[in-house]
C-alpha cells in the first residue's frame, strides 16, 4: 500500500468557497458521494500538486519536505495518514 500508485478519482476537484478549500465530486458517476471535504493549507498544497497525476505516499512526503520545514520521517508519517484518509473517504483510486 505504501508504494501503490494512486490517482485522484475522476470528477473530484478542489474549489474555493468563502476562503475554504473544499473537495466536491461532480458527475453522475459520483451521485452517491454525499460529502464535502474541507482541506487545510498543507492538504490543499498537496492536492494542487498531485491533481491529474499518479502519485504515492512518498511523492506526497517529498512535496511536504520541499514546501515546509519538516523532517523526512514526520513528512512520511503525515503523508501516509492523509493518503489513508483520502482512500477511506473515497477520493483516490489505484
Amino acid at each position: 500500500m505504501v508504494n501503490d500508485m494512486m490517482r485522484i478519482k475522476k470528477g473530484f476537484e478542489l474549489r474555493e468557497v468563502c476562503g475554504e478549500h473544499i473537495i466536491v465530486a461532480y458527475g453522475r458517476e459520483n451521485i452517491d458521494f454525499n460529502k464535502v471535504i474541507s482541506l487545510n493549507e498543507s492538504a490543499t498544497f498537496l492536492w494542487k500538486n498531485i491533481f491529474d497525476k499518479d502519485f504515492t505516499a512518498e511523492t506526497m512526503a517529498s512535496l511536504l519536505c520541499q514546501e515546509y520545514e519538516v523532517d523526512a520521517e514526520t513528512a512520511a508519517r503525515d503523508a501516509q495518514a492523509l493518503l489513508d484518509e483520502w482512500i477511506k473517504v473515497g477520493l483516490v483510486c489505484s
Binding site: 470528477g11 474549489r15 468557497v17 468563502c18 475554504e20 473544499i22 466536491v24 461532480y26 458527475g27 453522475r28 459520483n30 451521485i31 458521494f33 454525499n34 464535502v36 474541507s38
Partner: protein, 179 residues
Amino acid sequence: MKELIKRLIRALLRVLLTPWRRRYQKRNGIVSNQPRHELPNDAWLGEVSQMLSEGKPYAIYVKGYSMRPFIEHTRDRVFLEKRETYNVGDAVLAQIAPGHYVLHRIIERQGDNLTLQGDGNVRGVELCKVQDVSGMVTQYIRPQRIIPADDPKLIRRIRLWRRLRPIRRYLLFVYKAIV
C-alpha cells in the same frame, strides 16, 4: 393560544398517523439532526451555479422547507444539471436577485420570463428569466431511493399538488405530522 392549539392538533395527528409515519420514514428516510459543516447558502449555491455552467452536474443537500413535500430539509439531495431550456414543472436553481439563489419550481413561463414557487410555499412567488437559471433537478435523491425527475408517477403527483394549492396549507400541516 392559536400556536398552542396548532401544536396540540399536530401532536394528536402524529399519534393518529403513526402507522403512516412509520411507513413514510421507512420508504423515504428520516430527517437527520446530525451536526454538519455548512457553508453560507448564497456563496455555496453561487459556486454550484458556476460548476453547472462549466458543464459539471452536481448533487446538493437541500436546506429549508420551501420544497416540501417533494424535497425535505437536510434529508434529501437533488442532482442538478444544466439544460438548454426549462419548462413549467421543472424544479430549478435560479438567481432571483444578485447573489441570491433559490431552488424552486417553475409554475409559469411566458417567453423568457419565469414565475417560480416553492412546493412548500402557499403564497410567495419569485420572478426571474430563463438566463438566471443555472440548472434543473434531474434526480431526487432520498436516503432509501433515487427518483428521476421524469418519473411519470412523480410528475402526476406534482401536477396534483399544484391543483391542490387552495388547500396546500392544510395538507402541509398534516404532512409535518408524518415526516
